[in-house]
């Protein structure tokens, strides 16, 4: 009987071994492991932050600043049906972050400051400490958030246009009224719940970020269609009058500005 039990056990173990380890079906991809050339989370976050900075500058300097002169408005409550306005640059970023959160990218984007207009964006804890260090050298800061297992990076957010400082200085809730162009106003915080990414995953992430920019701009253009006096949407930019570029034109210009730097960074990791 003992011999029989041993035989039965051996047979079952053998069958289980074949069932479990002989690769007749294709093995499921291991989400935690990437093959081929890998980029660190730090590299990918730096590429994403550079792309974001380029688009924010494009939106601020080529849409908001000349748009204000042409009669367009930009407001915190731009999504309200009664407000004929577009998103402020900070809200453009917030919208992009929402779009990112919809996808499977595991990429998070946040904007904050030590002197924000909304208290909800006040840095505390690790971010406050990192931002104090950033104030000294304006260098990015990288750290790891243990509870959500995310690589985190903070990048300086500098006032690139007069529209930024004017709006912040005269806002009724601002805690600081002497911002100047070139000041470090805050920082973007990026989180990525992965240590390494394959080149394909990195490209997917960059594509998701660009989709986020597009989604946000499309939402703005859709909103303008309900304005009491809608701007003309096409190939022209607000510097030429009461116009807005269509999403393809906006993204084409954004990609023209972003792509070379991004490609150089990707190639440098080969």
């Amino acid at each position: 009987m003992t011999t029989r039990a041993l035989l039965a056990f051996t047979l079952v173990a053998l069958l289980a071994g074949i069932y479990l380890f002989v690769n007749a079906p294709q093995a499921l991809p291991d989400a935690a492991v990437t093959s081929g050339k890998k980029l660190s989370a730090r590299d990918v976050l730096e590429i994403c932050a550079a792309e974001n900075a380029t688009v924010r500058e494009l939106y601020t300097k080529n849409i908001v600043e000349p748009g204000l002169k042409a009669g367009l408005k930009f407001d915190e409550k731009w999504r309200e049906p009664t407000v004929d306005a577009g998103p402020l640059p900070a809200l453009f970023l917030r919208e992009t972050a929402k779009s990112l959160a919809k996808g499977p990218t595991r990429l998070g984007l946040f904007l904050g400051s030590d002197a924000p207009i909304s208290k909800a964006n006040q840095f505390t804890g690790l971010q406050a400490e990192a931002f104090q260090q950033m104030r000294r050298d304006r260098a990015p800061r990288h750290f790891f958030m243990d509870d959500v297992k995310a690589n985190t990076a903070m990048f300086p957010d500098v006032a690139v246009a007069k529209a930024c400082v004017d709006c912040h200085n005269r806002h009724v809730d601002t805690p600081k009224r002497d911002w100047k162009v070139g000041d470090l106003m805050g920082a973007t915080t990026w989180t990525l719940a992965a240590s390494n990414l394959s080149l394909t995953e990195a490209l997917d992430m960059i594509a998701a970020l660009r989709n986020g920019f597009r989604d946000t701009y499309v939402a703005y253009i859709e909103r303008t269609k309900k304005f009491s006096s809608p701007p003309e949407i096409g190939k022209k930019w607000p510097s030429e009058g009461y116009y807005l570029p269509d999403p393809d034109s906006f993204m084409e210009e954004a990609e023209r500005r972003m792509s070379r730097t991004t490609l150089d960074r990707l190639l440098s990791h080969r």
Binding site: F21, P25, K98, A101, T124, Q127, D173
Partner: protein, 264 residues
């Protein structure tokens, strides 16, 4: 053949415990051997087979489509009564064999991440497939920012399920007053309230928050200037427990009736 031990050693058969001698074994007679299987053993075996058949039938019945309510861990939450199980409980990728192989490899350290078996875990994505709203005041992803570490520890607001535990027969499964986790330093420069927000905060009147601000901002509500005009805490508690909404009925974006895959 040389024997090293006593030649008349008595051996015991482990089953029948009949003494056996090597030399003086009595010649076999017509005495009948006991049957290999006792009637009691046969009955036991029949019982086991019958039990297995019944268990299989019961399992088959429970797994049959339409019987999910019998295996659900509790009553569906308010508003989810008509939601099909498969709307949230989606099949995990791969075949059963692929999943078992992946998990066996994970247990043996041959793979870094385990694979879901059968159904994949329900996540925020499954909730947002019906409840995603562009104007959400408190979207879950925002709470993954580093500065919400304490709030995550206290409330885990970065998971929908932390406040909306499904199969609870309720709407909200956390106690009102949770605003304290993030808004304890709240102050407003141009406060429209008859009792300023800063005063409400200093008095710890956290049950008044939801009187004027629904958490996700999905109800169309006018701003109020008197705290007393807000929805009473008692009504909010009933609403949390699954009762009628005390907020204005107009919604900015009602939930989808069928999930929309978010990454498409």
């Amino acid at each position: 053949m040389k024997h090293s031990g006593p030649r008349n050693k008595v051996l015991h058969d482990s089953d029948s415990t009949i003494p056996v001698s090597l030399e003086s074994a009595p010649p076999r007679t017509s005495t009948p051997r006991p049957p290999a299987v006792q009637p009691a053993g046969r009955r036991r075996r029949t019982g086991v087979v019958l039990g297995l058949v019944l268990a299989g039938a019961a399992l088959g019945f429970l797994l049959f489509p339409g019987q999910e309510h019998l295996t659900a861990p509790g009553t569906m939450n308010t508003g989810h009564e008509q939601v099909a199980c498969a709307n949230c409980h989606q099949r995990a990728p791969g075949t059963v064999r692929q999943q078992l192989q992946a998990d066996a490899r994970y247990v043996l350290g041959m793979r870094e991440a385990p694979a879901d078996f059968g159904l994949r875990g329900v996540s925020n994505d499954d909730c947002l497939a019906c409840h995603e709203r562009p104007f959400d005041r408190h979207p879950v992803f925002r709470f993954t920012e580093p500065r919400f570490a304490e709030a995550r520890k206290a409330l885990a607001p970065h998971h929908c399920q932390s406040c909306h535990r499904e199969h609870s027969g309720a709407r909200v499964t956390v106690q009102a007053g949770y605003c304290v986790n993030c808004h304890a330093t709240l102050e407003m420069k141009n406060d429209p309230l008859n009792i300023p927000h800063v005063e409400l905060v200093s008095q710890g009147r956290w049950l008044t928050c939801l009187g004027c601000h629904d958490f996700h901002g999905n109800h169309v509500m006018d701003s109020r200037s008197r705290v007393a005009d807000g929805v009473a805490a008692r009504q909010i508690q009933k609403y949390f427990e699954g009762g009628v909404s005390p907020y204005p009925p107009q919604l900015r974006k009602p939930a989808r009736q069928e999930r929309a895959d978010r990454d498409n």
